[in-house]
Structures are given as structure tokens and as C-alpha cells.
């Protein structure tokens, strides 16, 4: 670069400033000395040109230490294109509850690239990729991630069909895709400024559950500027696992509430108190909490005989032991706020056996009463039985699970997820004994057993037969759509030709008959009998 003296001389001009050749580099001066009789302008212009030449001649290559080693060689692909972590990533994205924007934007770039030119990932590998991802896709295709993602590119109309586009996008995954991603980003750091509110929330959730320090930095940097909805949702996320040890979180919010005010902040403050309450309860899961729980349960003060809330003045003394949890926050003109929430929480955290022991009631009575408690707050309703269900799932108590299921067998059967605690065989035995649950539960049992338990592989044939049998003998019970869905779910796990034939027959029957006519019942029954025997034969083979 030119030195400051040359630039200064050039700025001021030579008219009123005599040129001094010492402004040039010493080597340049030597050349200039030969032309000492030249005019000032010429001396300057020559000096300038020589300086540039001198400067250009000495230009050396720049270095960045260890930059070369930051580009490792991409690992060889184990599968042709797709590797397991990326299938998992894709699966996670497609579930919609983890919308990692890093993956998202990476996908976008790759997809655009692939759309523009078939270079990175050759077209002939796409079919393999599609096959590998078929399973993931078929389960999750209706979910948020895929839908949103595809739409963007479908608009481009560069491909004739959705499927083609999907194949291209999917083909973008693989070891090399993952490697390129790392090369581009260096790390998984997310630029929060680039994200929208929903995406920021996802990022915060990731931080909160995986890296507390990052989540604190997030709070410090962004919480104040977050949207009101996000502010509330962040508190809700924190509330899921906040403990008394999270001092940084407490001190952040203390200072946040100290430095901010207004109606919106008051709402947040109250919300935070709830969160703190939960944390406190979890932390001090002790006699005190249990005694209050006992009082609530024994209706000693909180509830009337009708299981409705008592007036506030009668409640206060009872709640005094909970004063450390700043119960004031929950009292307003209309009475107590958040009592349902507290009860809901207590039911979740106090182990059922401990509760029944404390309350001296039998398990069945306990469950029944919980299912009958009326909601205290008009606008919100908490499913208290569901709180109990979570408690049971958390403590993996099969005995209580069975009791709850037995209680709910005549209800809508929405508690069948308790079956998750059982082995396949136990489920089978239970279902055989408690057929009413299946009958009443419409699709839930199937959805849970087939989709959530993922028990296609291990499902006992006997159970399939049982289910199909029910389907065949209770035609009147189901709508056409339900019948078809159930039949397909049943047929689905085995994809057995004969089973599918029966399914076809069922569907045909429904489609053609609409309402069942007397004169057709006989032939239908005959058909069903034929189907039954075909099915039995198929299963017994």
C-alpha cells in the first residue's frame, strides 16, 4: 500500500507544496535520484508509478493458519447415498415437533442446487434413496415438516410430479450431504436473527434440554425482545424441567421483572410464579406438599361436597402452608386461580400408592373420584385422570394402569396408551379379557398398537384374528370409513394376500350395501363366513 506521506502529498497537491522525494520508499528514491532535474509533477508521477510497481512486485501470498486442515476428506458413503443419521434427521424433521432450521435451510440450499443442475447427487441414486425412506415417509407424510418443505419447491414447477421432487430432495441426504453441511456451517450454531418466532422457540427448546448455558444466553439476549406468545411459551418450556438448582434462570427472571413493567409483564410474572411453584413442588416433594394434597383430597377446606370450590376466605388458611410458593399470585377477586393446575400437578407427581396410603382410600375409589372431580375454573378444564395416567406412565406401575383401564373401559378408551407399559402378550391377554375397551375405543387401540407400539413384527397372529373377528361380527357398529381403516390396519402388518382379500370384500360390502337390507343380510353373512374361513386358513398356515 502507498504510505501516508505519498497520499498526503497527493491530497494537498504540488502547487503549494514542494515535493520531497523522501516520501517514497528508499528503493524508489534511488531510481528517482537519476531524474533530479525533472519537474515536480514528473517527479511525483514517476515516484508514484515506481511505488506501485515496487508494491506490486513484493506481493506475497497470504496465509490462514490451519485453514487447509479444516477441510477434512469426506467419509466414504456406507450406503449408496443415505446414511442412518440423516434418515433419523429427516424423520425428526418430518414429525414437526423438532423443526431444526439448520437442517431446513441446508435442505433448501441442496434442493435448489439439485434442481438447478443434477450435479451433487446423481439422479440414478434417487430411487434407492426413495426406497430407503419409504417407511419414514409413509408414516409421516402428512406431518408438518414435509408438507411445508415440499410446497416451496413444488411451486417452482421444475418437476412434473411431486414424487420426482421428493426424490430429488431426499437424494440430497447422505454422508457427503452431512459433510458439506459441516463445511458450510463449521458448527451447528444457529443465527437466531435469521429465524422466525416459531423457529426461535424450537431452538430455545433444544438449548434448554441440551445446553443450559446456551439457553441462559438465549434468555439474556432475546427474551426481552421476544414476541409475547414466545415469552409465555419459553416459560412453559422452562417449567417442564425447572429445578431449584437453576439459579441463573431465577436470577434472570428476577431482574427481568424488576426492570420491566406493564400489564403484559404482570401476566408473565404470574406465569413465572406458576412455573416456580412447579419447580418448588418437585424440589420439595415432601410431607408439606403431601399434607396439602391430603387436605385438598379430604375436602377439608378446598372443596364443597359437590366437589366445587369453596369461597376464597375459607381457602386461605388451608393454603397457608403453601405460602412459600407465593400463593398470592393465584388469588384474585373471583377466588383462587390455578387450583386445577395445582391439583393436576399434584396428581402427576405424588405416586399413586403414596396418595392412596395418605388418603386411606382404595385404588379404585381413588381413580373413580379423580375422574369425577369437576373443573374449578370455568374457562379451562384439566383432565385430572390424564394427570394420573402420566403419573402411572412415569412410575411404570402396571397394576395401577390396569385399574385405570378397567375403570375407563366403558368410557371412550382414550387411556389405552397405558398399554405401552405392557408386553405384546400382556396386551393380547388384556384385550381378550377386556374386549369392551376395543369395542368402545374406535380407532385408538389400533392407532396406538400399530403406530406407536410399532408392533407389526411381533403382533401375535391370535390377536389379529381376534380383531378381525370382531370386525366381521360387529358390522353394524362401524361406519364404512372406520371399518375400512381398521381392516387396513389389520391387514397392513402382514400384507397377507388372503387378509387383504377379506378386507376387499368388507369394503365392497359396505360400498354396495350402504344400509344393510334384510334380504341381503343372509348372503352377507355367508360371505363373511367364507371370508372367515379363508382368513383362518391363512393364519393357520
Amino acid at each position: 500500500m502507498l504510505n501516508q506521506s505519498i497520499i498526503k502529498a497527493a491530497l494537498l497537491g504540488l502547487k503549494s507544496n514542494k515535493i520531497d522525494k523522501t516520501i517514497f520508499y528508499p528503493n524508489v528514491q534511488n531510481y528517482l535520484s537519476d531524474a533530479s532535474d525533472a519537474s515536480d509533477e514528473l517527479l511525483f508521477l514517476n515516484g508514484l508509478s515506481l511505488s506501485f510497481q515496487y508494491f506490486n512486485a513484493g506481493k506475497e501470498l497470504m496465509k490462514i493458519e490451519k485453514l487447509g486442515s479444516q477441510v477434512p476428506i469426506c467419509p466414504e458413503e456406507e450406503l449408496s447415498v443415505v446414511d442412518a443419521p440423516w434418515i433419523r434427521a429427516l424423520s425428526t424433521i418430518s414429525k414437526g415437533d423438532f423443526l431444526s432450521l439448520n437442517y431446513y435451510s441446508f435442505l433448501r440450499i441442496l434442493a435448489e442446487k439439485v434442481l438447478a443442475q443434477h450435479r451433487i447427487f446423481p439422479a440414478d441414486k434417487m430411487i434407492k434413496v426413495l426406497t430407503a425412506l419409504q417407511e419414514v415417509r409413509s408414516k409421516e407424510r402428512r406431518r408438518l415438516g414435509f408438507k411445508r418443505f415440499y410446497k416451496t419447491f413444488a411451486d417452482r414447477k421444475l418437476y412434473q410430479s411431486f414424487e420426482e421432487l421428493e426424490a430429488v430432495v431426499v437424494a440430497s441426504f447422505g454422508v457427503s450431504g452431512s459433510w458439506i453441511y459441516k463445511m458450510m456451517n463449521g458448527s451447528d450454531e444457529v443465527d437466531l436473527d435469521e429465524l422466525n418466532a416459531k423457529e426461535r422457540l424450537v431452538v430455545f427448546k433444544e438449548y434448554w434440554f441440551s445446553n443450559k448455558q446456551k439457553s441462559i444466553s438465549f434468555l439474556v439476549g432475546f427474551y426481552e425482545h421476544e414476541t409475547p406468545t414466545n415469552q409465555k411459551k419459553i416459560l412453559s418450556i422452562i417449567g417442564q424441567t425447572l429445578t431449584m438448582d437453576d439459579k441463573d434462570v431465577y436470577s434472570f427472571f428476577e431482574s427481568f421483572f424488576e426492570n420491566n413493567s406493564g400489564k403484559r409483564i404482570d401476566i408473565l410474572r404470574r406465569y413465572f410464579e406458576t412455573v416456580k411453584l412447579f419447580a418448588g413442588l418437585q424440589y420439595t416433594h415432601n410431607q408439606l406438599v403431601e399434607s396439602v394434597f391430603e387436605k385438598i383430597w379430604a375436602r377439608k377446606g378446598l372443596l364443597k361436597k359437590s366437589l366445587e370450590l369453596l369461597p376464597a376466605e375459607q381457602l386461605e388458611p388451608i393454603l397457608a402452608p403453601l405460602s412459600f410458593l407465593e400463593m398470592d399470585s393465584f388469588v384474585d377477586e373471583d377466588g383462587l386461580q390455578g387450583l386445577d393446575l395445582k391439583l393436576f400437578f399434584l396428581l402427576q407427581i405424588v405416586p399413586v400408592e403414596r396418595a392412596t396410603q395418605l388418603l386411606n382410600v382404595k385404588l379404585e375409589k381413588y381413580i373413580k373420584t379423580i375422574s369425577e372431580i369437576k373443573s374449578l375454573e370455568k374457562n379451562k378444564s384439566f383432565d385430572l385422570l390424564r394427570a394420573l395416567l402420566r403419573n402411572v406412565l412415569k412410575n411404570k406401575n402396571k397394576k395401577i394402569a390396569l385399574a385405570i383401564l378397567a375403570q375407563s373401559k366403558k368410557s371412550n378408551g382414550s387411556y389405552v396408551e397405558l398399554l405401552l407399559l405392557f408386553s405384546d402378550l400382556e396386551i393380547y391377554n388384556f384385550l381378550e379379557k377386556n374386549f369392551a375397551i376395543i369395542d368402545n375405543s374406535e380407532l385408538d387401540v389400533f392407532e396406538i398398537l400399530v403406530k406407536e407400539l410399532n408392533c407389526q413384527e411381533t403382533w401375535p397372529k391370535k390377536l389379529t384374528r381376534l380383531m378381525l373377528n370382531r370386525l366381521l361380527t360387529h358390522q353394524h357398529f362401524y361406519s364404512y370409513a372406520d371399518r375400512r381403516n381398521q381392516a387396513l390396519w389389520l391387514g397392513g402388518p402382514f400384507y397377507h394376500k388372503d387378509v387383504m382379500q377379506i378386507v376387499d370384500q368388507l369394503i365392497n360390502l359396505d360400498e354396495h350395501k350402504g344400509a344393510w337390507k334384510t334380504d341381503e343380510i343372509q348372503s352377507t353373512i355367508q360371505n363373511i363366513d367364507i371370508a372367515k374361513s379363508a382368513f383362518n386358513n391363512a393364519l393357520n398356515q
Binding site: A10, Q53, L61, Q70, V71, I73, I109, I120, M184
Partner: protein, 438 residues
């Protein structure tokens, strides 16, 4: 195997709107495509009563369509090319060439043969010399205006430069056009358009002043200049050599080689599209580029498909660099072995600097650098070698960066580059015995 990639088709389009229109045609057309050894053709329903007859010359890429569009290639031609990019050649039905295809191809073949066998009309060397001498004689006189202006410029200093009206430069710029030295205006306009808000503007202005000073001196002492230097200076002053003149001049250097088309860079400005096609002679190791222009989508007379190789004789412009060329005879697209001689970063840099010192008006140096990786650092993209020496890749999009990463996967590769003040522009890479155009 596909005849084109989609990217190649996009490169062939006269503008972005044509790509869009071609894809629309592609989507709507009821494709019935036929091929022979020499061509591919189809008829496409357009707005007219008769379908348009579209054909592509396969051996020497060219398009023709019966539609009235003034764009070249038209959207129908491009849509057929998209068809070829998305469908394997093997899947296309072989058929006898219809008359409208056969005649067109025959005409093209005959034209190439005619050009090759055309008797050369040699321009008299005396005439050429006389013309050149006259130009230089005028230049020596006229350049004194610039010399005087430069002296005034440094006498008055740069401090008030930003306050000067545009007339200050415009008068001189007009004069240089009158003096038939329009090339000088490139330097003057750089000074005129300098951003005074940007730090280092003084350096930018002084750099142009220094080049103008050297230019004045070179013109004044032109008789003592090396002939190549002088020729290069002529081009710099804007004394362009017409294509025919270059081809007919017996002194013109002709390089016969298999040329790999490394990169095609287009720039659009006020309806004028300039196209710079970079080539690499695989056996001679020579670099060349064509510079041609198209006004308002009228298209270019020749079609160059990035990544293709073609047997051709190039007529090189005289001068120091001897990179700019025009096509003399174009053969078919072909395959040939490479004989690469890449330079280390250090040697490439040294060669560039040496060229710059010898001829300070060297703005671009074309070359092949060895053993590089591509890396991302502080929002900039670099070529890096095993000594961690770097070359900054300017005008490098994320897309291209991704491409290079995807192709090379962290292995070392050789890079075809244009090196200049800003760093390097990556044209193509050589990896696994293959040249990938970017």
C-alpha cells in the same frame, strides 16, 4: 447419457426470461422427439396454426426453429434442450431425418467446409503498417492533452476532487473519443466513479493516475516498445482489430487444439449482453477466451456449451497475454486426453506478478493452480494449499462453493482460475482426471 445438463441449457439461453418460457413450453408440450446421428428434432405446438419445427445440431451444437422469435436460441429450442437434459439419448426414437432437418444440417456442414477451404485474401503488410503508423503519430500528439491534464491534476491535489463537477472529467473523456483513444476512458471513469465515502479511495485514484502516467509515457516512446507490448497497448487504447482482419493477417498466431470450454460468463448491461467464454487447450496448455456481444437478446452467432470439448483452430489476438481469441475453424465436439501443467500457488502468483511488472496494464492472468482445497473462513471463500497459503475466490456464490465441495469431497484438486487484484475467479476444476466447469 444425456446430451446436456440443465445448467448447460440455462447457460445457452439468451436471458433468464427465456429459461422460464422454455420450461413452460417444456411442461405443456406433448413431446414427440426423434434423433439421427447428427440431429434431434421435434415439432411443438405454438401460437401459430402450424406447429413449430425445432431442431438441434448435435455434432456442432446449434439450434433452429421455424418460430418468428428474434431471440436465439428461442424458447422452443431451449425447451427441446431441456427435454434432452431430462431424458436419456438412448430413449429417443431414431428416425430418418425429415427434409427440414436434413437440409439445415447439410447447409451447416457445407458452410464449415466452405470456411475452411475459403481462399485467404492476404492483407498487404504495408497497408497495415501505414494504418498503424498513422494512428500512433496522431496518438503521440493527442496524448499531450492527457499529460497536461495529469500534471494539473497532481498540482491541484485530490482534496477537492469530490467537489468537482462531472464536466471536469466529461470534457476529457469526450476528447479521448475524438482522439480515437476511447480505451483511456476506462481509467478516467474509474476515477470519476470512485466512492469517496469508502476508506482507501485515494489509493484507488492514485492507482489510475499511475496507470495513466505510464500510458502517456508508453505512447510517447512507442517506437522503442517491444512489438507485443505495443500490440497490447493498441487494444488497450481501443484500437480493436476486426475479426476478419485478424483472421486474414498472416502474422496472426493460430492455435490448433482440442479446447475445453471452462466457463461462460455473461454480463448484462443496458440491453447489451457480453459473453466471455474461457477455453483451455488440452494438448497445448494454452488458455484463451472469446469476448462477444449480443444486443437485446439477439443471440450469439456461435453456441458454446460449458464443459464440452471441441476441436478448433483459434486465431489469437496479438499482444503480451495472447489469450483473447476468435474462432477460426470449429470442428466437432470431441474427446481428448489432458496434458495439464498446473502451477503451485507460489509460482502462479509469481507469474501473475511478473506479468504485471512487465506490463502494468495486466488485469487478469489465466492459469491452472495445483493442489488446492476450497475452504470457508469468515464469510469468505478461499482456495487453500497444504502450506495454508490462500487465494481469495471472488464472486463465488454459495452454489458454486457447494458444487466444488460436492465434487471434490475434501480432496486436493487443480483449479483453473482468472487471477487479478481481487484474488481468483474459479472457472473450472480438475479432479479425478476430469475437468468440471463451474
Amino acid at each position: 447419457m444425456n446430451q446436456f445438463t440443465e445448467e448447460q441449457v440455462q447457460d445457452l439461453a439468451p436471458d433468464a426470461a427465456s429459461v422460464k418460457a422454455a420450461l413452460k413450453v417444456y411442461g405443456k408440450a406433448n413431446w414427440e422427439v426423434f434423433k439421427s446421428e447428427r440431429a434431434v428434432w421435434s415439432s411443438i405446438k405454438g401460437s401459430g396454426s402450424k406447429p413449430y419445427l425445432v431442431r438441434i445440431d448435435l455434432s456442432n451444437t446449434a439450434f433452429k426453429c421455424s418460430c418468428p422469435s428474434r431471440k436465439f436460441p428461442c424458447k422452443h429450442g431451449l425447451s427441446l434442450a431441456f427435454y434432452l437434459a431430462r431424458n436419456e439419448m438412448d430413449s429417443i426414437t431414431v428416425a430418418p431425418e425429415p427434409i427440414w432437418v436434413e437440409e439445415w444440417i447439410d447447409k451447416r456442414v457445407a458452410k464449415v467446409a466452405k470456411t475452411a477451404s475459403k481462399p485467404k485474401k492476404v492483407v498487404s503488410p504495408e497497408k497495415v503498417k501505414k494504418k498503424s503508423d498513422d494512428k500512433w503519430k496522431d496518438a503521440v500528439v493527442n496524448i499531450l492533452h492527457l499529460e497536461l491534464w495529469l500534471k494539473d491534476f497532481v498540482n491541484n491535489g485530490l482534496i477537492d476532487l469530490s467537489a468537482k463537477s462531472t464536466v471536469f472529467f466529461d470534457n476529457l473523456i469526450r476528447r479521448m473519443v475524438d482522439f480515437k483513444m476511447p480505451g483511456i476512458n476506462t481509467f478516467l471513469r474509474t476515477i470519476q466513479n470512485v466512492n469517496y465515502g469508502q476508506s482507501g479511495w485515494e489509493h484507488k485514484v492514485l492507482e489510475q493516475v499511475h496507470l495513466l502516467h505510464l500510458l502517456v509515457n508508453s505512447i510517447k516512446s512507442h517506437e522503442r516498445l517491444d512489438p507485443d507490448y505495443k500490440k497490447e497497448l493498441e487494444l488497450l487504447l481501443g484500437w480493436n482489430i476486426k475479426k476478419d482482419e485478424l483472421l486474414l493477417n498472416p502474422d496472426t498466431e493460430i492455435v490448433d487444439d482440442v479446447w475445453k470450454i471452462l466457463s461462460v460468463i455473461r454480463k448484462e448491461e443496458e440491453g447489451l449482453t457480453s459473453r466471455k467464454t474461457y477455453l483451455y487447450g488440452v494438448t497445448t496448455n494454452r488458455f484463451a477466451y472469446f469476448l462477444d456481444f449480443s444486443f437485446r437478446g439477439a443471440g450469439f452467432s456461435e453456441t458454446y456449451v460449458k464443459g464440452r470439448k471441441m476441436q478448433a483452430k483459434l486465431a489469437m489476438y496479438p499482444g503480451v497475454h495472447k489469450n483473447r481469441a476468435v474462432l477460426k475453424i470449429k470442428g466437432s465436439d470431441t474427446n481428448a486426453e489432458f496434458n495439464l501443467k498446473p502451477l503451485s500457488f507460489k509460482d502462479a502468483n509469481a507469474q501473475y506478478l511478473e506479468r504485471r511488472i512487465k506490463f502494468p496494464f495486466t488485469f487478469d492472468w489465466l492459469g491452472l493452480v495445483a493442489s488446492a482445497k476450497i475452504a470457508h473462513h469468515d464469510d469468505k471463500i478461499y482456495l487453500v494449499n497444504e502450506n495454508d497459503e490462500i487465494l481469495h475466490c471472488f464472486e463465488m456464490s454459495t452454489e458454486r462453493f457447494l458444487s466444488v465441495l460436492a465434487i471434490t469431497k475434501g480432496h486436493w484438486f487443480d483449479a483453473f482460475v482468472v487471477m487479478n487484484e481481487q484474488g481468483v475467479r474459479l472457472l473450472a476444476i480438475y479432479f479425478n482426471n476430469k475437468i468440471y466447469s463451474l
